[in-house]
């Protein structure tokens, strides 16, 4: 799918409708904060990445890996794409880029969302040719079965197929089994049926931490 016809793959900054300039402040912060830092791991994506930084699990599992967090709540693939093309990768050389985005791409098809994710992967590869990109699977959402769960599962399937042949990319399914046998998601795992509680973050981050460590170990010096 060409980037011109795919809104999910067209770099787009967030418009400041509310009037407090927060999105641009965050982007500028990321660009300036990254000068002088030497992260081995960069996390980039939406609120699921951003909120990860606010809980103990970040300090325990990811700070020790020298990780930076460029998550922004509400971001869809086109927003992350714009940020990475406009400075957030310019001053750092992480070995691993962890990408978690797509659940906010409302109105886009799974094919379009996958196109957005692939566009991000390509930009990362252009700017950081020696980095490995780890794409995280989208989680199910909503208390009960609903179309967004199907959409997210489709995105995961399409992305997984697309990256299987790329040596500089891998995919990690992040769902430890949040959906119960009755089809429901518990608020103890997702307090608003979208965002993770600290205990749910602990659960999903163990395998993530292991995968990142093994990628770092494999990375050529």
């Amino acid at each position: 799918m060409s980037e011109d016809s795919n809104p999910a793959a067209t770099p787009t900054p967030c418009q400041d409708i509310q009037g407090d300039g927060r999105w641009m402040s965050l982007h500028n912060r990321f660009v300036s904060d990254s000068k002088g830092k030497e992260p081995d791991v960069l996390f980039v994506g939406d609120s699921l990445v951003q909120l990860l930084h606010e809980f103990e699990v970040w300090r325990k599992l990811f700070s020790p890996l020298h990780a930076l967090n460029f998550g922004v709540g509400g971001d869809a693939t086109q927003h992350v794409l714009w940020r990475l093309m406009n400075g957030e990768l310019d001053h750092i050389s992480p070995k691993v880029v962890v990408l978690w985005v797509g659940t906010n791409n409302h109105g886009h098809t799974p094919g379009q969302i996958c196109g957005g994710i692939m566009a991000i992967i390509n930009v990362v590869h252009q700017k950081l040719p020696r980095a490995h990109t780890l794409v995280l699977g989208l989680l199910p959402r909503g208390k009960s079965p609903n179309p967004l769960r199907e959409r997210n599962a489709s995105v995961n399937a399409v992305v997984q197929a697309e990256v299987v042949s790329l040596s500089h990319v891998s995919f990690l399914d992040m769902d430890p089994g949040f959906i119960h046998s009755d089809g429901s998601i518990a608020h103890q795992d997702m307090y608003d049926y979208l965002h993770l509680t600290p205990q749910a973050y602990q659960r999903v981050c163990q395998p993530l931490h292991e995968r990142i460590k093994s990628l770092l170990d494999k990375h050529a010096p």
Partner: protein
């Protein structure tokens, strides 16, 4: 007619019905729980429950958290009129809402908050209400800070006149000498970090304890 004082549910635009699911859960919690304190509002209330400060300071007070991210005064009004006050007799209600009322003027927002407070007072005649002031937002000075400050100035005057209600504003704690807000307090220049919640919770917890003591003494 104040648009910020009209009860309105949130429409499920995205397709996963999360708003109504959370509301239904809160209604169910009213059937099972006997809270002494009810926290209600937007994401500023909701996120509090995900941090240690909730377990340390507010859970022990037998508190329920009916915070819902994105809510305006209209949405909270709708929720309290559609089951979220049923079967409970909290001694104190902590209300924090208004920062998401983007379509409304400061006067309208203030009117929405006082409308909620009035309903709480009439539905829970033995409860005291603590209304929290809107925090500043955005990394630097901007029109939303001015608006939120104006809402606070109006509430400072109107809330105490409603009766068993108090206004608590901790905004000053969050603006640094150069006028900026630190990411250490608000990770996205709107939502509080764990440290930010610590700063907010000290005066709030003190006021809560004091207020709870008063309700006990009054018996």
């Amino acid at each position: 007619m104040n648009p910020a004082a009209q009860p309105l549910p949130v429409q499920d635009v995205q397709g996963d019905a999360r708003w109504i699911s959370q509301h239904e859960r809160f209604v169910q919690e009213c059937k099972d729980a006997e809270p002494d304190v009810l926290f209600i509002g937007d994401s500023m209330i909701q996120l509090m429950q995900q941090h240690e400060v909730w377990k340390d300071l507010f859970s022990p007070l037998h508190a329920l958290n009916f915070g819902l991210a994105g809510d305006t005064t209209c949405n909270v009004l709708w929720r309290i009129q559609n089951g979220e006050l049923q079967n409970i007799q909290p001694k104190v209600v902590v209300l924090w809402v208004g920062t998401n009322n983007h379509q409304h003027t400061a006067e309208q927002v203030s009117g929405g908050v006082t409308a909620i407070t009035q309903i709480l007072i009439s539905q829970l005649p033995r409860a005291k209400i603590i209304v929290l002031g809107l925090l500043p937002r955005g990394e630097h000075q901007n029109p939303m800070r001015e608006k939120n400050a104006e809402v606070n100035e109006l509430l400072r005057l109107s809330v105490p006149r409603l009766g068993p209600a108090q206004f608590l504003d901790v905004s000053a704690e969050f603006v640094q000498s150069d006028g900026s807000i630190s990411k250490h307090d608000m990770f996205d220049f709107l939502h509080l970090t764990a440290a930010g919640y610590q700063t907010l919770s000290k005066p709030l917890h003190d006021l809560l304890l004091q207020t709870l003591e008063e309700t006990t003494a009054a018996k």
